[in-house]
């Protein structure tokens, strides 16, 4: 068991380090010079070399690349990612500033997406209407195919500009969170719903369900009592994918609804080659991603007795 944990933790640490290193390499391989991006593009030819040097010096960009890498890595280990090239703010502070709004959006959307996914799976399994089941089973792929951008704009047109129920932009309390939540939850719910519908259907046909039927249980009771528990577990395995969807969706959602957040900050940071900021964000995302996968790996044996048994096999005690 200890070996299992050590292996998983080691893998998580490696993922974070690799993400840090890879972004560093990518940003330096890119042909644009972050110093150039601080100037007007039409002005580039006219910047005196000493000015360019002074600016590069300000950010440590003129040191040998390896030294820069080690320096950044050393500071990053202590949670210091330096200052943003474009705004001069400490990266950690800038990220912490944006984190709450993105967290509220992402976690809210996740809860909503789960509710939608389970509702779809429940109804699709419990209903006896063929057409309704077919319709519901088609929904997940539909939800994934609708671009977040389009659904966001549509929702704004109807509920903000026409009906005036919700604010169109900014962060003004709970009401400004409603539309972004729905917009983001729809595509995120798609893969989860698809997985659940399938695993609900599989479980629904298994032997223990037939036994329950034979004992006289109603359809609703069987779905809620027997199928639900066994069929939900696989949803955990795609937690990583779900997280990825949330991040990707939040970039667009935050842009359409003009919300502040990590997604938009990432976009700007990449566009302006803001090396320290990009690295801070990538490391944060990698840490979260690795943690989620780690937690899933670690709690899976607790939820599934069969897996616990397999893990126990390599170290059987003498009788």
């Amino acid at each position: 068991m200890l070996r299992y944990i050590a292996l998983k933790v080691g893998r998580a640490v490696f993922v974070v380090w690799a993400a840090f290193t890879l972004t560093f390499v990518l940003l330096f391989v890119l042909p644009a010079d972050p110093v150039d991006l601080l100037f007007d593009p039409a002005e580039l030819n006219a910047i005196p070399p000493e000015v360019r040097r002074q600016v590069a010096d300000n950010y440590g960009f003129n040191q040998p690349v390896l030294l820069q890498y080690l320096d950044r890595l050393g500071h990053a280990l202590r949670g210091d990612f330096g200052e943003s090239v474009q705004s001069g703010r400490p990266v950690t502070a800038a990220i912490l500033d944006m984190l709450p709004s993105t967290l509220a959006l992402a976690s809210g959307a996740l809860v909503l997406a789960l509710l939608i996914a389970f509702a779809v799976a429940f109804v699709a399994t419990s209903t006896r209407q063929e057409w309704l089941r077919n319709l519901l089973e088609a929904l997940p792929s539909g939800a994934v195919s609708v671009p977040v951008f389009l659904s966001g704009i549509l929702m704004l047109q109807v509920f903000s500009f026409r009906l005036g129920w919700f604010p169109a932009f900014g962060d003004q309390g709970a009401s400004s969170l409603v539309l972004p939540l729905i917009t983001l939850a729809i595509p995120v719910s798609g893969p989860i719903a698809q997985l659940l519908v399938r695993s609900f259907a599989t479980e629904f046909r298994s032997g223990y369900v037939t036994t329950s039927w034979a004992k006289g249980a109603t359809r609703g009771r069987i779905v809620a009592g027997d199928v639900f528990r066994n069929a939900s577990l696989p949803a955990l395995t795609i937690a990583g994918i779900t997280f990825g969807n949330l991040i990707a969706g939040s970039v667009i959602t935050e842009t359409v609804f003009a919300r502040k957040g990590l997604g938009r900050m990432t976009q700007t940071a990449i566009n302006t080659l803001d090396v320290p900021l990009v690295q801070g964000i990538v490391v944060l995302v990698a840490v979260t991603f690795a943690t989620i996968n780690l937690v899933v790996d670690l709690i899976y044996p607790l939820l599934d007795p069969r897996l616990r048994a397999t893990l126990a096999v390599p170290a059987p005690g003498p009788s």
Partner: protein, 572 residues
Amino acid sequence: MSDLRSAIENAGPGRRKWPWISAGVAVLLVVTGIAYAATRGGGAAPGAAGGGEPVRGGTLQFALIDYQRSPDPQWGTNYAESLIGNNITDKLTWQDPKTGEITPWLAESWEYNKDLTEFTFHLRKDVTFSDGARFDAAAVKANFDQYVRGDKALGVNPNGATLLPGYIETLTPDDFTAVVRFAKPLASFLQASAFTANAQPGFLSPATLRLSAKERTDPRKVIGTGPFVYESWQEQAKTVLVKRAGYNWSPPALGHKGEAYLDRVVFNTIPEASVRTGSLTSGTIDATLDVGTTDEKPLAAQGYKIIYRGVSGTAIFFNFNSQLFPTNDIAVRRAIQAGWDREAVRKTVLTDSYSVATSVLAPSVPGYVDYGGTILKFDPDKARRILDEAGWAPGADGIRVKDGKRLEVKLLGINNLVVNKPAYESIQQDLKKIGIDLQLTVVPIPDYTANQAKAKTDWNITAANRSRNDPAVLNLQYGPQLGNGAYVTRDSVGVDLDEVTQTLGRLELTLDPQTRKQYAKAAQDLLLDKYALVNPVYNPSQVIAHAPSVHGIIFDAQSRNHFVDAWKSNGK
């Protein structure tokens, strides 16, 4: 699939079907209801105009595409930053947006030596920063010193080094006289003292100058003399300014007395075009910048006011690389100048807020000369003749060939303005008809910047523009020792390097309006006619749509907005 489970279930009594039908009907009703509301509700007509006397008070909700990354106006390199910086800081002088004349602001008067290396400003004596500090010659010196040289210990960049090249020092012979000295003649400094675009010389309080770049990210510590002060700054979302109590020094040329009319201006960042216009028509915001060309007409039809000003400086230009094949051939450069249909671009791509370029300078720049009827006239026959005479013969695919090489012209452009790409594509089609294969690479700013580094050897044309309302912009952009936009060197065939250097350089040598006009004409003649180093395309504009109840938004000479004179009819 007919398994045991289904058999058991189906053995039971069937259920009624009507709940499903009624549920279906209910869903249908809700959907129709929303659709009905969507088509009928909202879209209220904008409030009544009301003109006459300015009303005091109220909050102006303003929208724009960029956000302010740093509250420090001397640093700011995007539009939001310069726009907001203009409302919290003042400059030494104010350039009249109509005439280009430099008029007093924080400096009441000024003189300069004959060489144009020393500029003496006599300052107003009643100006204070919003932290109570006095604005005086020492403040001018402290600002310019740091603006040009930066401060390594504080992490402050030399933001003004490109605007004030050759800056030596500022002398302070008395409390309200500042003498700015340069190593070389710099006629354009007078205009630079009024400069309001990116990385502008707006004056910050001595207390602010002592803070590090990091500390200046707190807006409450960024102190200016302007008509507004920071109330709050939410990165990515919005910046809120409140009026400065006791402000009484707006540029005399504006005719505005005392404090700003508005209590508050909120700059909302809204990246999506449809959300900006939707927010305007639904009344959430009062005015928006960055109005798309396709939105102008519908908004005007709904009663919103469209105001605009051309971006001053150069037009959007195609700078020809004078030493790279095939634009090293003047015949190719001339053929491109004459070979595209201006009228088609005007009709299909531009709106009334934009104009087709008739010189490399925008019409608002002093010294502008109109070449619309001569060099820059669409004349495909002339273009064909020029190419024929130069030995470019039509090839099999219609593209001309000379010495076995196709007439391929590679263009590098930026897609930051929505009009750019369609305009370039229109030109591309026209040029194809006369046998020139214009290959477009129109990319976002970072990619442009990356490629620009290789422009000398890889690109025949770089397409961009430069914002500076002074004819010396031609020297900055094309001077072989400076921007060298056409990459003129000793290797450029048929181009006299020294002549280009001198003709453009003279623009920095005089401030006499008549002489400067002559120099400006000579510079444009050289760039457009004699050496055909540039093909100007169109003059971009800053376009604002606002509710009729909003008045007095000013476009300055750099097309940035000032809100000191703005007011709302309802005062709310």
